[in-house]
Symmetry: C2
């Protein structure tokens, strides 16, 4: 199995999150796979690319990321808004079948085996950085390095998002509160 | 001087950044004021509200935040896209007059005196949290607590953004790369 989407050069990986989309965090442990939604994720460095993401102590994802030191970050699109909301509301602890029931399919990432979520417009496999020790306990904050990145060439090419040239269903979604999202809108150049 | 915008209850302050807008970081030291743009900012906790923001070591903002332990986070709107790009490209070190030349006006926040940027659709005054010690050195990452928050009631009311009921100039902007932004788009409910 290989990732379905074209790979993104690592020096451009930070751009996949630069505009602040809501993401899906994938994890795997002892043969099982889980995916949760997270609105609190952002780039942390350019090259090597690093990200910061908040993962609550109560989640199954947290247990598995603590155990393995690895995770995936996936960028869902408008077509997956309902799925994203469901993945953020059902815990893998109380709903162990949630991925199959919600129809979520994943591909193991080549270096880490972390689940890349199919249908997402960007996917990254990541390893947890040592500095996380200081901020995961008090703040549920994880700092990770991106080891591999992929994106849908219909909306991301030449190191840039191009949402205006693709169907609206492929736009990123940005959670505001309680299952209400905004999709990303129109380009505005200031350069 | 009092903040011009209506105050936001602290338990809703995280929502001002939940959808991932580009922000302006304000700082003040020894009677001088500075403002820089930052695309890497996100919520970190609900209540008390906390934020995470990356502030590069090379910036004047960094020197002053290190010195004072305080900063402001402001959310610019589409009408300020050009200003945001300029504030992110001109350092206060080499352009000490940049705020006056760019026509940036600020109001000192009531608790910290940090500059709230006029024309922004949201403003927060913040203090740096102790855990920052561990992540500012290696990762330029600052963790802050929000002490006061304000937002433009034309686009934020009852704890929610409502961009679709206001002029497009009041939409948030989301930097992708090189002075190219996307504005926030259309509401999409999944609940």
């Amino acid at each position: 199995m290989r990732p379905v989407l074209p790979s993104v050069p690592l020096q451009h990986a930070y751009r996949l999150l630069n505009h602040g989309p809501t993401v899906l965090v994938g994890s795997a442990h002892e043969g099982r796979t889980n995916v949760m939604a997270a609105a609190w994720a952002m780039p942390l460095d350019f090259e090597p690319p690093k990200l910061a993401v908040v993962i609550d102590k109560s989640t199954l994802t947290r247990q598995w990321v603590d155990a393995t030191g690895m995770l995936s970050i996936n960028v869902p699109c408008q077509a997956q808004a309902g799925l994203t909301w469901a993945l953020g509301n059902e815990s893998g602890k109380t709903h162990p079948d949630k991925l199959s029931r919600l129809g979520v399919r994943t591909t193991p990432a080549p270096l880490t085996g972390m689940p890349l979520v199919e249908g997402c417009i960007a996917q990254m496999e990541c390893r947890v950085l040592p500095a996380t020790t200081h901020v995961a306990g008090p703040h549920d904050l994880f700092l990770v390095e991106v080891l591999g990145a992929w994106a849908d060439s219909r909306v991301f090419s030449h190191g840039r998002w191009h949402f205006e040239h693709a169907p609206d269903d492929l736009r990123t979604i940005h959670h505001v509160a309680g299952g209400h999202f905004y999709t990303i809108g129109s380009p505005r150049s200031a350069a």
